[in-house]
Subunit: 329 residues, 2 copies
């Protein structure tokens, strides 16, 4: 392959800025991964630090694929938090120390190619729509319970969007007015009942009460150590109280998803995120049952529920597919 052909602008980079790590992947124009790189955040408290981090990852995936930046047609970025997708502005990304960062403009200038930013959950949902469990469905609702509970929707081939950016803030649907405090500052959001931290807190209490010996042995009952995988291990090992806690929170989440099904009538609900990846059978069963029981009957009948297929590659794949679509216009 001559350098000329090799560096034809036909490849895409997808970047997924997560809660604790950034992942970048370089794809050819058939969305085959040519190279990939994941890295955890170090402490970053300013704009430059975060941008440098992204630049470093982009360089590394280029090196990994033995390509140069002039072979890249576009870069798609999935980014947490509220943003203005038209202006390419990230309103806030605390883990990166960002506030009102014109990410699209900065990256466009830096790399000299088209850039598109999207909410990270939207990018993941779009990935599952294009390549995963929701492939080509008319309306895909993605729900990703992990530390937070994110939602996204692809409707008739396009990301369903709010005025300036993403919507489907399923994690912050309020289920109990006087419920526990949520990370968003309100009380009783479903995330405060069914997010990973809420489950970990309840599991920790059970462990200290002596009701979850396996979890206690594995994690010492420390919330920071009670990750989705340790919860799953404890259940497999026989901590029935932990299983009860997880099922109960999955049911609560299922009730919220049922109300969203009654509203937007998806053809498929795709469940992903850390908790589902660790315990797919529990989430699939409880959420399917809640939808069947609580959603409007003629809509509940029509909807499939499935576990996401792409794992943590959904975000980079979706981000790359989003920029590829824009570049093709």
């Amino acid at each position: 392959m001559s350098d000329k052909v090799k560096n034809k602008k036909e490849n895409f980079i997808g970047i997924d800025i997560g809660g604790s790590k950034i992942m970048a992947a370089l794809f050819n124009n058939e969305f085959k991964i040519l190279s990939t790189k994941r890295e955890k955040f170090k402490e970053r408290t300013n704009i430059t630090g975060g941008i440098e981090f992204i630049k470093k990852l982009v360089s590394e995936v280029l090196v990994g694929a033995n390509l140069k930046i002039d072979s890249i047609c576009g870069i798609g970025v999935g980014c947490p938090g509220p943003l203005d997708i038209d202006k390419g502005l990230v309103f806030e990304a605390p883990n990166l120390g960002w506030k009102n960062v014109p990410l699209k403009e900065i990256l466009t200038r830096e790399f000299g190619c088209q850039v598109r930013i999207a909410n990270d959950v939207d990018a993941g949902t779009f990935g599952e729509y294009r390549f995963g469990a929701g492939k080509d469905a008319r309306c895909v609702l993605g729900v990703f319970p992990g530390t937070g509970i994110g939602g996204g929707c692809v409707y008739e081939g396009k990301l369903f969007r709010g005025k300036t950016g993403s919507c489907m803030e399923i994690g912050h649907i309020q289920v109990q007015k006087d419920g526990p405090l949520c990370g968003c500052g309100k009380h009783g959001c479903i995330e405060a009942f069914a997010g990973r931290l809420a489950i970990a807190a309840a599991a920790s209490v059970a462990a200290f009460r002596g009701q979850a010996p396996y979890l206690m042995e594995d994690t010492g009952g420390e919330i920071a150590k009670i990750r989705s995988k340790s919860i799953a291990r404890a259940i497999s090992a026989g901590d029935t109280v932990i299983e009860h806690i997880v099922r109960d929170s999955a049911k609560k989440l299922g009730s919220v998803i049922a109300s969203v099904v009654s509203t937007i009538a998806p053809d498929i609900v795709v469940l992903g995120g850390g908790l589902v990846e660790a315990m797919p059978a529990i989430y699939l069963k409880e959420i399917s049952a809640a939808i069947k029981e609580e959603a409007v009957e003629f809509l509940a009948t029509d909807v499939k529920v499935a576990v996401a297929k792409l794992g943590d590659e959904a975000g980079v794949l979706g981000a790359a597919a989003l920029i590829a679509e824009e570049a093709a216009k």
Copy 2:
């Protein structure tokens, strides 16, 4: 005007099949009403009866406008209940005695023009989007509390739809698992708390307890007589307990709407229906407050809340606009 010009296929008929009456209106191609006709159902227990009723109303609006059927480019019909909008099939319309009626096919054959059917609430929401309170907004959520609580959404100029038809079944979002029985057979739907019958039942109890003297005088406390207008009159006359009942149910509805705002992020929520028409200030205030307080902050900030402008003409206008769009394709 010669007969030839007069009977050019440039007019549209909109039909709104409601819970207790049918309305038909004939529009020119600028959606000016040329004639209109409303009529209450008599008892009808078969398909033919309902179709004959529609035929009669179509004849009457034609006569009213001094036009013939060959001047009609298309007929749009808003119809309650689940339907298949692509096939033009009405799954069930109990008031008309209909079950699995191929309405589009029947009317097309009958009138020899294009026919489009839509859910009645969707048609009303589309009317408000095209001509009313939600004019040209990017995303309009229509909520119509009356005997039932209907919802509809126009997203980027098109009705947001489910697999076979309408969605946005806001009235049947469950707010309390062990709540009162709803007309749909489930328990605790918001309609069972905040629909007109639920309000009327609570108001009736208050009247019989002697807590609502004006309502008692006006209606004798009979639920069938406690219509939205009598509720409004009682509040104006000073029945504070009735006002409390209505505000409480409007707040509950507001909480549900807040969760829908967090999900689909409309630019505007348009409130219509019998209860809102009778008591617009109460609904506007309570629902606005609930959205502000309970929806995700960055989405609550962006959304307007407004009272519908078109009254009971929203449905016929929307239905006519929907068929006009299809005819223009």
